[in-house]
């Protein structure tokens, strides 16, 4: 019985090596190999305390418009007035 248990344990140990996950990324020349990133406008707008932009989730145009308003706020000739 002990021999059988020892045999099973050794077999399991030996087979454990075969179950090892691939640790090397398969590279393809010239193509991004990392994780996909999600887009900014796919998020919900932040809570009011963060004072971020307001846009409709998933609508790229509304997100771009929100960011553009912040860009234009860098122009003090327009922001402060003539």
């Amino acid at each position: 019985m002990r021999t059988l248990a020892l045999f099973i344990a050794l077999a399991a140990l030996g087979l454990a090596g075969c179950g090892e996950k691939e640790q090397v990324v398969v590279y393809k020349q010239g193509k991004y190999q990392g994780k996909p990133d999600n887009r900014s406008w796919e998020n919900e707008p932040p809570v009011a305390e963060l004072r971020g932009g307001k846009w409709t989730k998933g609508d790229r145009t509304s997100w771009e418009e929100a960011v553009k308003q912040r860009q234009l706020a860098q122009n003090e000739y327009r922001r402060i007035g003539q």
Binding site: V25, Y27, K28, Q29, G30, K31, Y32, Q33, G34, K35, P36, D37, N38, R39, S40, E42, N43, P45, P46, L50, G52, G53, K54, W55, R60, W63, E64, A66, V67, K68, R70, Q71, L72, Q74, N75, E76, Y77
Partner: protein, 217 residues
Amino acid sequence: MARMKFLCDAERCIECNGCVTACKNENEVPWGVNRRRVVTLNDGVVGAEKSISVACMHCSDAPCMAVCPVDCFYRTDDGVVLHDKDLCIGCGYCFYACPFGAPQFPQAGAFGLRGKMDKCTFCGGGPEPDRSEAEFKKYGRNRLAEGKLPACAEMCSTKALLGGDGDVIADIYRERVLRRGRGSEVWGWSTAYGLPPKPGAQPPAPQPQQAPTSGKS
């Protein structure tokens, strides 16, 4: 489609390093890594001293992307160049390729260990879920996903550092140059990523006492 860029107005930069501090604070960048820094030319020369804030310029044809042996760089739909730290092997090729010295390598470990590359993300995070803890720890804060601009540009007290869509910030810069009546000879009218002049914009009258410059673009 926006192409996110930085533009630093050397006429306005007062070398306060507020942008550097804002970046460090916003992204909790580790000691020894400077995603942004202020470079001063002609330091100490009265009347000739100019400062400019430099970080990753998010090149449209980025050399770091071209040389990366593991292809860990990608460009977002807004033209922001980002990278995946899980893939980066810290080889430093991007550092040699970058003309701005943007890629940074933490060296906090023993034996001169060089860690994974860190650089300006245009406050756009990285390939982790947006506004997540994992993204913040690896790449810093994702302000773009909050509808904001990079902290360095928004914190700039003199608005020397502009960040945003290249077309929009080029228009802001052009208006400044028109109002102050000088500056175009330094950068050229095609500055800020080659946007053609607007129909209403007029360059300042040529200065007769100035010698013609051969390198004018």
